[in-house]
Amino acid sequence: MDSVPVNGVLRSRLIETTIMALEYDGGVVIGADSRTTTGAYIANRVTDKLTPIHDRIFCCRSGSAADTQAIADVVTYQLGFHSIELDEPPLVETAANLFRASCYRYREELTAGILVAGWDRRKGGQVYCVPIGGMLVRQPVSVGGSGSSYIYGFMDSNYKPNMTKDQCLELTAAAVSLAMERDGSSGGVVRLASISKDGVERRVILGNQLPKYSTH
């Protein structure tokens, strides 16, 4: 997290974050680190950046903590209302579009990079990327936050289509760990979640259980 003194007050940010989301056949796997900073101070070392929006739809938050929480709350409202009017579970694409609508309309005031991931009956597991500025694109694999820069190569070389859920979980844990190792602003624990038609499974990998890569 960065500190941006505004009127002399430091704001909590999540920019130095590592978040990612992968699609697999039957669902999605999402992962994030757990560090929130104001400047150099780690305000929360066990942050939960994986936020439920609906029963089978989550978002991964990077950017300003306040901005992303506020947007997520508003989208939860909008999607909850929409879903109960329709009398059926909402589509992931709908949730992603609601995020995009807020992020684009208020692009000048917000700093929010969000990954929307979930499962619905129509298209199965889906990952949508809504980066800063308010673009929307669906990607089978998406990484975000400052820590993501360090793992683009790792993802490009290690992601293969049609992986199983467990392979995805392993890959996500490995990638987030690597990013946390190199990015000063990512750290803490690795939070994972997998979403499928059967529901959501959440997991935490503590610091001492993280896969180790450095040999020195």
């Binding site: 709350d73 508003v74 939860t76 409202y77 909008q78 909850g80 209302f81 109960i84 009017e85 009398d87």
Partner: protein, 232 residues
């Protein structure tokens, strides 16, 4: 002065006799419905007679969910009901946005009733021609409320509304006790509905909703059929 009086009277007179006659209207023309609070849940049951067999019964519902844990049913004018359902859903979401907590049933009822009251005191509108029954579950307790066109609301253990509400209430008074379980409550609710039902009661012309710790649910026609079979 005259003009003012006329205008004022016009605005008022549009509502006041209407409130009374609306009351009569919904009691006369409305369908029967009733609801029941059991020890571990609430049941809402209503008849849904359509004017023609050509109607697609499953496209329009009387029993509607408002949130995961609150549902409602009405007696009166369908279109007015739709407006209130939408309003209630928005109010519930708004509450969650502010308080990060599912709206307590009583709070929702208060807010919906406020809306209904607004329409008895504003110019150019008429009161809602519906009486609502709102069922919810929070903090391990079942709740049942009624909300009238005037904006008055009441909590009930069991109640009936509509054409034959007098007989319905009498029937319920005899059969209600605090220890009834949800299953028995559903059974009793359907029996009460049958008392004033004209013609054959099938899963297509009644609707049943239940609310317990698992949340609010409108029973599917198949599930209703099972309960009907039990009373046949």
């Amino acid at each position: 002065m005259d003009t003012f009086c006329t205008v004022y009277c016009y605005a008022v007179s549009r509502s006041s006799p209407d409130i009374c006659s609306l009351t009569r209207i919904y009691y006369d023309a409305g369908c029967d419905d009733l609801s029941f609070s059991a020890s571990n849940g609430v049941v809402l049951a209503t008849e849904k007679k359509q004017k023609s067999i050509l109607y697609d019964e499953q496209s329009v519902h009387k029993v509607e969910p408002i949130t995961k844990h609150i549902g409602m049913v009405y007696s009166g004018m369908g279109p007015d009901y739709r407006v209130l359902v939408r309003r209630a859903r928005k109010l519930a979401q708004q509450y969650f946005l502010v308080y990060q907590e599912p709206i307590p049933t009583g709070q929702l009822v208060q807010r919906v009733a406020s809306v209904m009251q607004e329409y008895t005191q504003s110019g150019g509108v008429r009161p809602f021609g519906v009486s609502l029954l709102i069922a919810g579950w929070d903090e391990d307790q079942p709740y049942l409320f009624q909300s009238d066109p005037s904006g008055a609301y009441f909590a009930w253990k069991a109640t009936a509304m509509g054409k034959n509400y007098v007989n319905g209430k009498t029937f319920l008074e005899k059969r209600y006790n605090n220890d009834l379980e949800l299953e028995d409550a559903i059974h009793t609710a359907i029996l009460t509905l049958k008392e004033s039902f004209e013609g054959q009661m099938t899963e297509e012309n009644i609707e049943v909703g239940i609310c317990n710790e698992a949340g609010f649910k409108r029973l599917t026609p198949a599930e209703v059929k099972d309960y009907l079979a039990a009373i046949a």
